[in-house]
Every structure is written in C-alpha cells, then in structure tokens.
C-alpha cells in the first residue's frame, strides 16, 4: 500500500513492485498450504491416472472387482479410499449399476467434492471404472447437439 501511494504517477512500476512483494510476503505459507490440501484441485478434476470426473461422468464397478480390498496392482498407501473407508465400500456397492458422479454423491448423501476424491482413488486402484463421456471434451459438437435435439423432440 505504502509503495503504491509513494509512486502514483508511475503505473508501470507499481505492478512490478507488487509482483516482487508477493514471494517475500506470502510465498512460504502459501506453498506449504497448497502442497497439503490442494493436489486434487491442482489436477483440474483429473485423478492421478487422468480420469476426468465431471458431475455427469459415468462410473461403474464390474462385479468381479473386489469390494473391500484394493486390487493387486493398486498403488501404494496414501489414497483415502485405500484405507477401506466405509464410504469407499458404499461407492463400490452402489456402482454395481452404472451411475453418474452426481448420482453417487446424492444417493450416498455425501458432498460432491468428497465423492470425487474417493472415486478418483478407487479408479486409480482399479476398483471403479470411469467411462468416457462418449464425445470429445469441451463444448458438445454439432453431431451431439443434433442427437439431443431429436431426442428431446421425441419426448
């Protein structure tokens, strides 16, 4: 604040100073904090193995997959679900039918964010299958829009 007030007619210098001040003032704590709680958000909604988990993304647990134990090729400990939380088991059970991520959260009455982390862990362990959206990521293309349009007309 004081630096900005001291040099009002030099707009170029003010942002430069502001930028320089950032690491000195808050760099340490900010870095520690982000390393602790934000790995999920840093991945932009992708799990470690690149699954995209949007609210409408379908997930399912084929009957053969173990409901309680991590698969043989599961990554080492660390994920929440690998500690066999009852919530993780409930998700696997629910996913004997195909469900969207949002449906899993709603039916288990769990917050969406928590469910996504758990599903991500389960997917990374091979206990849940994450299905592709069936179309390219991003805004739906014309072909998909046309299909939706004709589907709605039949309602």
């Amino acid at each position: 604040m004081t630096t900005a007030a001291a040099a009002p007619p030099a707009p170029r210098r003010v942002p430069a100073r502001a930028r320089a001040a950032v690491p000195r003032q808050g760099g340490g704590p900010a870095i520690r904090r982000s390393a602790r709680v934000r790995p999920y958000s840093l991945t932009g909604g992708r799990t470690r193995f690149g699954h995209v988990l949007l609210v409408e993304t379908f997930v399912g647990a084929p009957a053969a997959s173990p409901g309680a134990e991590p698969g043989p090729d599961a990554p080492g400990p660390g994920g929440l679900a690998s500690r066999v939380l009852p919530e993780a088991r409930a998700i696997v059970g629910l996913c004997r039918r195909l469900r969207s991520v949002a449906e899993v959260a709603a039916l288990l009455k769990m917050p969406l964010g928590v469910v996504r982390v758990l599903i991500g862990d389960l997917a990374d362990q091979g206990r849940i299958r994450v299905y592709g959206s069936g179309h390219t990521p991003g805004r739906p293309d014309r072909a998909l829009l046309e299909r939706v349009l004709s589907g709605l007309r039949r309602l």
Partner: protein, 226 residues
Amino acid sequence: MDYADSDTSPHASAGEEEGAASWQTDLSRAPAATKIVIAGGFGVGKTTFVGSVSEITPLRTEAVMTSAGEGVDDPAEVPGKSTTTVAMDFGRITLEADLVLYLFGTPGQKRFWFMWDDLVRGAIGAVVMVDTRRLTDCFPALDYFESGGLPYVVAVNHFEGTPRHEAEAVREALALAPDVPVLIMDARQRISVVETLLTLVGRALEVSPGLPGAPSVRAGHGVNPA
C-alpha cells in the same frame, strides 16, 4: 437451499431406486452423457423445471459452502434457506439407449461461482430462469454465462397471480442481446419445459462452430499460413 421448489415434482412418490434404466445394468459400456445447467435465483422454480421432465425424482447433491460469501447477500429473503451448504438438484432424461441428458439446477448467486465453473465444463448451455418479481436475482447468472460464452436462453417462469410480462419487455429490462431467446414459460408444464430445452439446444447449434469441412465464419479469413 432450494427446498421451496422441491414439493412440486410430478414424480413425488417415486424413489430413485424405482428401477434401473436399461443402460445402467450393462457395465461393459456407458451411454454418452451430456448436461444442461438450469440457473436462477432461489425459489425461481429450478427444481420444478427439472422435475417436470426428469425420469427420476430430482436428486439433491450438496457441497459445503465456505463462510467467505456469507453476508454478501441475504438468504433470509426466502424462508427456510440455509447458509452452510449449497444444494444442487438434478434430474436425468434418457434420450436414446446410449444418450443421457442431465439437468443440473444450480444456485444463481455469485458466491456459488466455484460450483458453476465445474458445472459448465462440457455443458450444452444454460437455461437462466427469471421471476419477474425478483428480476435482479438472475443478474449474476446472466453476467456469468455472457462472459463465459456459454449458450443460454432466458426462461421467464410465469407464476400464477402475477402479471404476465411480454418477452420483449423482459429482454429490455435485462438488457439482453437481440439474438438471446426469451421464453415465457411454466416450469410445471412438461411441454413448456421441453420447449425451453429445445430452444436452448437450437441456440447452442446456432452459435456452435460449423461442421468439419463446412464453411465457417473464420474460414474465409485465410490467416493460417500452413
């Protein structure tokens, strides 16, 4: 939360486990999934809208809200609203055996933008619901979709006993561009909701880039040196 809307679903007595859709039992493949966002202020009829076309009883999923936004606006305006969690009601329509459309009703206040960013990824577009008695409630949603470039239509939910406004008057009041569709509709009527969705998807097609190989707006500029 949006409980005010919840009791008007036409599927009120059915639970979600009312029987699986056929595509739910075949885990070898999944249908294509797409979604439309239903936005608007509290009590504007988002859940009613979703319930009028959903094949399942609208489900509610909740996200814990940080306290950062508390006090920014006034949830006490509509009785029974909580400030600790934000609820999102959604429904589902199986359009084809391998195509499922989700409708997500989302709170229309600025402090919930963290949810919107996530919701609109990959969405066809948004229906911005408007109650003419509380017109300003939809401003944040309009601003958001306008700046984000997501196709949207404005759906004026006509409540009984309120004056019926003309679409053009609403367009003017909301300072909407001439090409943004405005519908006067009734969220309780399935046909009216379907018509609104059709208008939105039509709008999305209008603003969608052309088919691959087809002439598009940008094709003529020839700036690509390759």
